[in-house]
């Protein structure tokens, strides 16, 4: 770990100003905000992140969950994952989000982890996290990708490129993707309101750039659109052990049922994509169809059609299919 200075931001403006001193808000950023610290401090100890200045944003008033007049839910950037998972509004209207949060990390970590930090957590690709491996395009642009020919059981099969196959590991962001969340950002150029689908980037040739944030950009809150009484949702996470492990495959499903018919479906996948993976292909298969296993299977096929297996992770394609089918079965068979 290198030396760094720590500043407590007294205001949003101050945080933005300090953040804007960095050339990038992506890998290599010399200024980093710290929220719960459960990603950042780890990576600093591992020398993967080497900010010279760390700006503590925990003093900012961004820790509220508010129901807006239009029925949407506004979640402050600093709401702790544990609090959000047990929030009554979330439990009532967005069970998928609560389930996703509770499936992630451990109790202690969720007590520290925040909404914004969770959205911005970094990949668990082991080659990214261990600097003894020189080749990692995400960490050191242009250095190569050690994972493609290496131990890549946990890596992605969707959205990969020949430069990077790392997953985005968040569970929460997968649920938020299925919920079509919007991420609110304040920066040097004012406020922006970004659909979560547009927030993350696939690696392409620049895996070091993971999202649309610019220097100084501060996430202030996330909005979840209102649900209807017919909306049901569910999150299913598959992994080796029963707890405290990232997803090998996960599915967030949000459906609106009209009797037995699926009026609307939103499907997002975790553990398999280079970003929280929305599958419009699967959604198209399902919408207008009866809630039946045959259609779930077709949807799962569609979701994974573009998947590309690597040395050790080909099983994820079938695992993700199973995960989708089961999640849909559960969500459509629950008593409303």
């Amino acid at each position: 770990m290198i030396d760094f200075s720590l500043t407590r931001a007294g205001s949003t403006e101050q945080a933005i100003r300090l953040g804007a001193n960095a050339k990038t808000a992506q890998q290599g950023a010399l200024v980093r905000f710290i929220a719960g610290g459960t990603t950042l401090v780890d990576l600093m100890k591992l020398d993967v992140e080497q900010p010279r200045q760390v700006v503590d944003i925990n003093g900012l008033a961004l820790a509220d969950v508010v129901r807006n007049p239009d029925g949407s839910l506004r979640i402050g950037a600093l709401v702790r994952n544990a609090d959000l998972a047990h929030n009554p509004e979330v439990l009532r209207s967005y069970p998928v989000l609560s389930l996703a949060l509770l499936s992630g990390a451990s109790g202690q970590l969720r007590n520290m982890a925040t909404t914004s930090g969770n959205l911005l957590q970094r990949t668990r690709c082991t080659y990214f996290r261990d600097t003894a491996f020189p080749a990692c395009n995400k960490r050191e642009p242009g250095s190569g990708c050690a994972a493609i020919e290496g131990n890549n059981r946990i890596n992605a099969v969707l959205g990969t490129s020949e430069h990077c196959i790392a997953t985005h590991p968040s569970d929460m962001a997968v649920a938020m993707t299925a919920l079509e969340a919007r991420i609110h950002v304040v920066g040097l150029k004012g406020e922006r309101d970004i659909a979560i689908a547009d927030f993350y980037r696939v690696p392409g040739t620049t895996p070091n750039i993971e999202n649309v944030l610019e220097p100084g950009d501060l996430i202030t809150y996330v909005t979840l659109p209102a649900t209807t009484p017919a909306t049901r949702s569910h999150y299913l996470k598959l992994r080796d052990r029963a707890s405290y492990e990232f997803a090998l495959a996960s599915a967030a499903v949000v459906v609106e049922l009209d009797g037995k018919r699926i009026r609307k479906a939103r499907i997002a996948l975790g553990g398999v994509g280079t970003k929280p993976w929305r599958s419009e292909e699967a959604e198209r298969v399902l919408e207008g169809k009866p809630a039946e296993e045959a259609h779930f299977k077709t949807a799962a096929e569609a979701a994974m059609r573009a998947a590309k297996p690597y040395r050790e992770n080909g099983f994820k394609i079938e695992l993700a299919r199973r995960c989708i089918v089961r999640a849909l079965t559960t969500v459509t068979s629950e008593q409303a």
Binding site: R124, T126, F133, L238, L248
Partner: protein, 757 residues
């Protein structure tokens, strides 16, 4: 004096009845309140910090090592590397009492034998300064081809070492009507105790004191005296509390002599904590094993032949084999048997014992083969085992000191409900889930090692027992106090147990599940001696509270010395007798002879036994498999502390779940560096993976081993868990994978039912 106490079968209501009861850990409050000091918790005045720099290639040579920048950094005192590393001797390779993990003195040459090898060590005023400077040391390498091949067939040659042999296995094999010939594989596993290896080394100009995370202070003292070239009396090793070891901390690893040498060179105390990455490369692991097992049996299920050939991988530096055939020659009866072993060399760190070394991977193979044989025979796997129970240890011809494996199997079967077992694959259901059942037997060697102890009765009313063994988190402090209480009747809270210091009488290493069996009798002997001296003072001291009485007329109850004919309260507190006589303490010495040297003990084959019955739940739709229920029946002689013993078995079963389903150190094939080298990626069981567990101890005292009848319970619990789980997996899923761990990807495509009875 009460020298007639039956320690193996204590009378109810007497102090000795504490033997076998569920006494809470006496060191528990120290640990939960943070008072207990682990090795890295020692902080000495003027102490500095050492942080290693590790090789990032798996095979080759250092071509340049540039420490200029690091040496100029704030707080840095010195950067050690090949060339300026103070001289270290090799520890005596012929010694059995001074063993080290990796025998090459650190930084002895510029060759890289494995990824992670220490190539330099930075010492600085603070930990952060040392870490920062370690990151600034620039090392260049020339790589040479590396070999970490997982295929160990190079070990399967005519040159395999014959470990045990009787009859003719080939003839026996052809004589069988039903045979199994399969190869089973276990991966490299990393111990991963929560407490990382650590040492604080202090040098006073003449003497070393090492606060060392070790399972054996006595061995560490000798080995480090050897390596640092000082007389043994100038080396002291202290270990008060260990955050577990699982065998990984039996022998000192290279960081320890580095810290000690630096402390002497700099004349400052040095702290060195091995970080989690290095825990995967520099401090040993359970090696990979490939094991071919051939069984043959008559159609009635009598074994006609057992052949067990295996290879394990070791480092280029040391040939350390995994003794997979440890239990094979004695577990089942067969006229024809051969066990052969070999070791192949790879660009990996030196392996080291891990909980149940040899027997645990070995039994995975042989007990899996037994389960496969049962299926081929269309015979119940419990029946098959009962049928092949030997009369005596057929490998030595000696009787077993105490063997109750049949009862383990029958009791377990009954507790588990085995009579409802339906061997047809996928036939047993629980709601939407398919369940599977499996069984396997367990065995682990027992013995005593030589030990000395000292017990004193003090004028402050305490009894103090001291021994240079150690408590590695398993309850040793507590059971030693129990023995003193059993003998003297002095209340538990007045008994002080002092361990983990080479200044104390020499005690055994905490390994091989041998501390309990070894030390208990010597504590008892010492306590009797201390008590006898006390009673002598009581009758003939000046003044003597019981002048003229005979020692035999007196008893010690609850701390009171009194006439046997009178009530305890009519007597005198023992500390009062000492105070009045102006004697600070009486004290006695006890010792136990090693069972490997004792003629009486040599007449028997000492082993512990057990049986595990396992249920798994399988959700085929999502390939999810969980171990739901385990019944373990364990035959370890007399149980001394029911709570600590159960804790050992339950912990071992949970570890066995990890062995069967999760654990494997994965190496990058190009660099030989482990990739899952942290606790998030190296998957072990988590709390929700813990099955419902029922642990039964048969509790038959083994008085051939000691008057207490206790063997030891640390390792047996892990033996046999994995093969019982994989048998259950097969029954639930039809998937027969003969390589651990069995993962979710293996269970995605269950095979159709392969057999039915």
């Amino acid at each position: 004096m009460a020298d007639d106490i039956n320690m193996a079968n204590p009378a109810p209501g007497t102090p000795a009845a504490i033997l076998g009861s569920a006494v809470p850990r006496i060191d528990g409050p120290l640990k939960t309140s943070g008072v207990a000091r682990y090795s890295a918790d020692f902080n000495l005045p003027r102490m500095v910090y050492a942080v290693p720099v590790v090789a990032t290639i798996g095979s080759g040579r250092i071509t340049s090592l540039d420490a200029t920048q690091a040496e100029g950094m704030r707080g840095v005192l010195k950067v050690y590397r090949h060339g300026n590393m103070p001289r270290l001797y090799k520890s005596n390779p012929a010694s059995r009492t001074a063993q080290v993990g990796e025998t090459r003195p650190p930084m002895d040459d510029e060759t890289i034998y494995y990824n992670g090898q220490y190539v330099a060590v930075v010492v600085a005023e603070t930990m952060d300064q040392a870490r920062a400077a370690a990151g600034a040391v620039k090392v260049r390498y020339a790589t040479t081809p590396l070999n970490i091949s997982r295929d160990l067939s190079d070990g399967f040659t005519d040159k395999m070492e014959v470990k045990s042999k009787r009859g003719d296995v080939d003839q026996g094999f052809s004589a069988g009507t039903v045979t199994v010939d399969e190869t089973y594989i276990t991966p490299i596993e990393t111990h991963n105790p929560i407490e990382m290896h650590a040492v604080v080394a202090d040098w006073d100009g003449r003497n070393f004191t090492l606060y060392e995370s070790t399972q054996g202070v006595a061995n560490a003292k000798e080995a480090m005296a050897d390596m640092l070239g000082v007389p043994q009396e100038n080396m002291r090793v202290v270990m008060q509390f260990l955050g577990s070891g699982f065998g990984g901390k039996l022998f000192p690893w290279t960081h320890t002599p580095i810290a000690a040498a630096a402390a002497r060179d700099l004349n400052r105390p040095v702290k060195l904590v091995v970080d989690r990455h290095m825990m995967f490369t520099n401090v040993g692991h359970r090696p990979r094993t490939v094991q071919r097992v051939r069984l043959a049996a008559t159609s009635a299920g009598k074994l006609t032949s057992i052949s067990h050939d295996y290879a394990s991988d070791s480092s280029l530096l040391d040939e350390k084999g995994e003794n997979c055939g440890e239990a094979t020659p004695l577990l089942w009866s067969t006229p024809n048997l051969r066990v052969r072993a070999s070791v192949v060399r790879r660009n990996l760190g030196t392996p080291t014992p891990m909980r149940g070394p040899g027997a645990v991977p070995g039994l995975y193979a042989t007990e899996s083969a037994m389960n496969e044989l049962a299926i081929k025979l269309r015979m119940d796997p419990v029946q098959l085992r009962l049928l092949n129970e030997p009369e005596l240890d057929e490998s030595t011809g000696k009787p077993f000191s105490s063997r109750h494996l049949k009862e383990c199997l029958t009791t377990g079967a009954e507790k588990f409900g085995w009579s409802r077992y339906n061997p047809e694959v996928g036939s047993m259901k629980k709601g939407d889930l398919t369940i599977g059942w499996g069984v396997a037997a367990a065995s682990w060697i027992a013995g005593r090692s030589g030990t000395d102890t000292h017990v004193s009765m003090n004028d402050d009313g305490t009894v103090r027992v001291v021994c240079g063994t150690q408590d590695i988190g398993t309850g040793t402090y507590t059971i030693f106090a129990q023995v003193v209480h059993a003998r003297t009747g002095v209340p538990m809270d007045r008994i002080k147990v002092v361990l983990g210091d080479t200044r104390l009488p020499s005690g055994p290493m905490s390994g091989g599940s041998m501390v309990t069996g070894s030390v208990l009798p010597s504590i008892d002997e010492a306590a009797r001696e201390a008590m006898g001296q006390l009673l002598k003072i009581a009758t003939s001291g000046n003044p003597a509270p019981f002048p003229g009485a005979k020692v035999d007329d007196l008893a010690l109850t609850d701390g009171y010395v009194h006439l046997k004919s009178g009530a305890p309260a009519s007597g005198v507190r023992f500390e009062k007798i000492l105070q009045d006589a102006n004697v600070r303490a009486t004290g006695g010495k006890g010792s136990t002879q090693s069972s490997f040297e004792s003629d009486a003990a040599k007449k028997f084959s000492f082993h512990s036994f057990g049986a595990h019955f396992v249920e798994v739940e399988y959700d085929p739709g999502i390939a999810r498999l969980r171990v739901s229920r385990v019944v373990s029946v364990i035959d370890v002689g007399k149980v001394i502390n029911a709570r600590a013993a159960r804790n050992q078995i339950e912990g071992a079963v949970v570890m066995g779940v990890g062995m069967a389903l999760f654990e494997e150190t994965q190496y990058d094939a190009r660099t030989a560096r482990p990739t899952n080298n942290n606790l998030a990626d190296y998957i072990i069981s988590s709390n929700p993976d813990t099955p419902e567990m029922d642990v039964v101890f048969l509790d038959y005292p083994d008085t051939n081993l000691s008057s207490f009848g206790a063997r030891g319970v640390g390792e047996i619990g892990l033996a046999g868990v994995a093969p019982a789980i994989t048998a259950a997996i097969y029954q639930a899923t039809g998937v027969r994978k003969r390589e651990l761990p069995v993962r979710i990807e293996d269970l995605l495509h269950p095979a159709p039912a392969l057999h039915s009875i």
